[in-house]
């Protein structure tokens, strides 16, 4: 049997922090995280829908409820999750049909996803606030 040389102890550095991912990887992990958030918030969204559609008084309650700064912040977070999941999802549909799979384009479309999701969140957030 050949004697294998003893491996030199090399530093192992698996940095899985999302911020060290390339842009398409960041879009990917945020797609998962935003999807989880959207799932978790479904019940809350239905609660809001029910309140707003119950009656005139319910609608007023709904308006008062979403005027609360903390609720607004949560809604803004949910809006971001929706917009990120939406725009990243559109990107994936194109990738599925082999559009934009080369690296430079994939990078560009990742940046486009961030521009659209964060941009629209800020614009709609400013309007809603």
């Amino acid at each position: 049997m050949p004697v294998l040389p003893v491996k030199k102890a090399r530093p192992i550095w698996f940095n899985l922090s999302p911020l060290n991912l390339p842009p398409p990887g960041l879009v990917s992990i945020l797609h998962r995280i935003s999807g989880l958030l959207l799932f978790a918030g479904l019940v809350w969204l239905l609660y809001l829908l029910q309140m707003s559609l119950a009656s005139q008084a319910g609608f007023e309650n709904f308006k008062a409820y979403i005027a609360n700064p903390l609720v607004k912040l949560a809604l803004l977070g949910y809006l971001w999750a929706y917009l990120h999941h939406f725009s990243a999802g559109i990107r994936y549909l194109f990738l599925d049909v082999h559009k934009g799979i080369d690296l430079p384009t994939a990078r560009k479309t990742s940046y486009a996803v961030f521009a659209v999701s964060i941009g629209l969140t800020l614009i709609l957030g400013a309007k809603l606030w």
């Binding site: 998962r32 999807g35 479904l42 029910q50 559109i90 599925d96």
Partner: protein, 115 residues
């Protein structure tokens, strides 16, 4: 030699496809919803209720809700499969996810259809 072709149940492909189709339905509904809000002159209770009282809007919302349930199921199942290794726990979470989603779907339909 046994010439056996192992092809599996194909549920992976089916779910993959369901994920895409439901995504397109939800995207279309989102654009429709935003467009309807934009053409609503004044956002008040009457307008909000009228929006969901129309038959076609109820039908569109129904399709949207069903799409959300299927889409969320595939996505959540992926997450449980990736991060939860003990089979019993994973199976429990998957079953709870299905029950939870079906319950939410029922509730959503109740909200829309009793208007």
């Amino acid at each position: 030699m046994v010439n056996r072709v192992i092809v599996g149940a194909h549920y992976g492909t089916r779910d993959w496809l369901a994920q895409r189709i439901t995504a397109v339905v939800m995207a279309a509904y989102t654009l429709l919803f935003v467009a309807l809000l934009l053409v609503t002159p004044k956002f008040d209770f009457a307008a909000w209720k009228a929006l969901f009282s129309q038959g076609w809007m109820r039908l569109a919302t129904f399709l949207f809700v069903v799409s959300v349930l299927l889409h969320a199921w595939v996505g959540m199942r992926d997450i449980w499969m990736d991060y939860v290794k003990p089979t019993g726990l994973r199976l429990s979470l998957q079953v709870l996810t299905i029950l939870w989603l079906v319950a939410l779907g029922g509730w959503a339909m109740q909200i829309i259809w009793r208007l």
